[in-house]
Amino acid sequence: MDKKVLVIEDDPGTLRFVEYTLEQEGYQVLSVTNGLEGLKKAQDECPDLIILDIMLPGLDGYEVCRRLRQIPETAILPILIMSAKARQEDKDVGLKKGADDYLAKPVAPAEMLAKVETLLTSTAQIICATSEQ
């Protein structure tokens, strides 16, 4: 079965790029453009991984990350932050809020795919809690 990736990103260009790149590699992509929808989709759709932007309208990426970690269903879901906030402090905050990895934009397709693959392999054993019910 194809791995499902949820993309939470508000910049249309970046979103299109991520979607296209992942789909080319056979991933099933779900996308939303704000944090609140992202939280909802993450619980409803049981994705295998989330690609998360930081500067989002409403809830920002850090907050989305923090909340995802508090929800049992998404507590161990791999989260890859992909943000134009590129300072070390920004990365530190992201990782502290519970992200598994952090990529600073601009990201090359190969770089992004490699990270996605690594995160999925290392958490391959983890199955979305809701899918078992």
Partner: protein, 510 residues
């Protein structure tokens, strides 16, 4: 025996001579002091070098003579103080006082005076000796020190061990805004530690007004001896203004850091699309020509975004280094606005936003920098679009009034809160909240627009209500034909009138 008697006499003579030498050496070497001895009748019998220097008489002029003026001034005698001295002298053999004396040339000088009665062996009065110290120098030093203390900008206060104020200078008094009689002897009220520098806040009550005013004061404390007691000397410097400047500077520093971080974000976002799609295509991952075209279109528009952002940064740099210039030419305001609206067509179309124009056909031409004004119009329209609801509308109106052109752009979107409005035209400022940040922008648009309008001699301001939309307005002066090319002076009274005429509700004048 004879020898020893002779010896004794010789010894005694030597002794006397030595004694006399000693006394006269002492007498003459006390140059800082005038020593004058007189007999019972007031005839001067001894007069030292010090006296000569202080009074100016030669010994020849004075010895063997009576000179009442040398001892007492006329005023002194008239004031009845002489009586006082005589009583004191007879009772205690000595009397001292501080007062004025007169030199030979008639000049008076402050003096410390000591009278001593001399007596014969039988105890009867032989005469008296007067010793005078000229205090002129010391008084001058005291005056200079007092001057330094009273004119010191820093407050100076002496507080005793009990915490009571024992001395203070005028600056100290004005720091507290209180009168001397209220302060002297009252509790200082702040703990003082010798050798320490502390900062305190003084809340000052203005007696006439009810308004209070808080000053930040830096206190430096040293331990001193004051009237034979341990006490504290505190120097108090009003650092309110300095603090304000420092705070302002660090606020600007913070804004700059935030600005750079924002700019970095704004530069990286379009770069993601450019780099991402370019790599995909180079690696042959986009075989479909239609998709290729789609991606190239995104790359193209993001390159435009980047270019605009870089132009804004360059404009800011020009403004900062005062190299910002405008080049004026005659132009039609209607054309200018319509071109700007046309430029943003794809953006408004995409979100279903309509722009209503309300520009009279008769609007006269204006002399201005067309390219710069286009920049202002595009900025105001972009903001209006950014903060409008999908399917909403924007109104642009232009009108000529008196000698001015007024242009207004109104949206019916989310509006601006008052605290944001205050800072809207400041450089680096971006409205807080992720809504405005995610809406993008360098935080420079309105700042640059303000500089452009002001360079034309106009004003720009905003009126807004949260949830009720915003109106951005600017004016440009029409130049009179006889002063063609000359900048119209900005008249504050006129600006006030303008504000009153056109602004309703909350507005921020910039």
């Amino acid at each position: 025996m004879k020898i020893s008697e002779e010896q004794l006499i010789q010894d005694r003579v030597r002794e006397l001579r030595e004694n006399t030498d000693f006394t006269s050496t002492l007498f003459e070497s006390l140059v800082g002091y005038a020593i004058i001895a007189a007999d019972f009748d007031g005839n001067i019998i001894a007069y030292n070098n010090g006296a000569r220097q202080i009074y100016g008489y030669t010994p020849e002029e004075i010895i063997g003579k009576q000179n009442i003026e040398i001892f007492f001034t006329e005023d002194f005698i008239k004031s009845g103080k002489l009586q006082h001295i005589i009583v004191g002298l007879i009772a205690k053999d000595q009397f001292s006082y501080e007062g004025e004396k007169v030199r030979k040339n008639g000049a008076t000088f402050p003096a410390q005076v000591l009278f001593t009665l001399t007596r014969h062996k039988d105890g009867s009065v032989a005469g008296f000796v007067e010793i005078v110290e000229d205090l002129t120098q010391r008084k001058q030093t005291e005056l200079s020190l007092r001057n330094i203390i009273t004119s010191s900008i820093d407050g100076i206060v002496i507080v005793d061990q009990k915490g009571l104020i024992r001395f203070f200078n005028p600056s100290f008094g004005s720091l507290f805004g209180r009168k001397a009689e209220d302060l002297l002897g009252s509790m200082f009220g702040f703990p003082l530690v010798s050798g320490e520098t502390t900062e305190i806040e003084i809340v000052r009550k203005r007696s006439e007004k009810t308004s209070i005013d808080t000053r930040t004061v830096e206190i430096r404390v040293v331990q001193i001896n004051w009237e034979k007691e341990n006490a504290y000397l505190a120097l108090m410097q009003d650092i309110t203004e300095r603090k304000k400047v420092e705070e302002e500077r660090s606020k600007l520093e913070r804004m700059k850091t935030e600005f750079i971080s924002n700019i970095s974000h704004e530069l990286r976002t379009p770069l993601q699309s450019i780099k991402g799609f370019a790599k995909l295509m180079l690696q042959g991952k986009v075989p479909d020509p239609e998709t290729q075209k789609e991606f190239l279109t995104i790359i193209d528009s993001q390159s435009e975004n980047l270019t605009r952002l870089i132009e804004s940064l360059l404009d800011m740099s020009r403004i900062e280094s005062c190299r910002f210039e405008i080049q004026k030419a005659r132009l039609s305001v209607k054309d200018l606005i319509e071109n700007a609206v046309g430029e943003l067509y794809s953006l408004t179309n995409q979100r279903g936003i309509r722009i209503h124009e309300n520009i009279p056909a008769t609007l006269p031409e204006i002399k201005a920098d067309g390219e710069r004004l286009r920049q202002v119009m595009v900025n105001l329209f972009s903001n209006a679009i950014k903060f409008s609801h999908d399917g909403g509308s924007i109104t642009v109106s232009a009108d000529a009034k008196d000698n001015e052109l007024l242009v207004q752009v109104t949206d019916y979107g989310i509006g601006i809160s008052e605290d944001v409005m205050e800072h809207l035209f400041e450089r680096f400022y971006q409205g807080n909240g992720s809504m405005t940040r995610s809406a993008g922008g360098s935080g420079l648009g309105l700042y640059i627009s303000k500089q452009i309008i002001e360079a034309h001699g106009g004003d720009i301001w905003v009126e807004s209500k949260v949830g009720g939309g915003s109106t951005f307005s600017f004016t440009l002066p029409y130049e009179k034909s006889h002063s063609e090319g000359a900048e119209q002076p900005r008249n504050p009274a006129q600006a006030k009138l303008r504000e009153g005429e056109w602004s309703q509700g909350r507005n921020v004048k910039v």
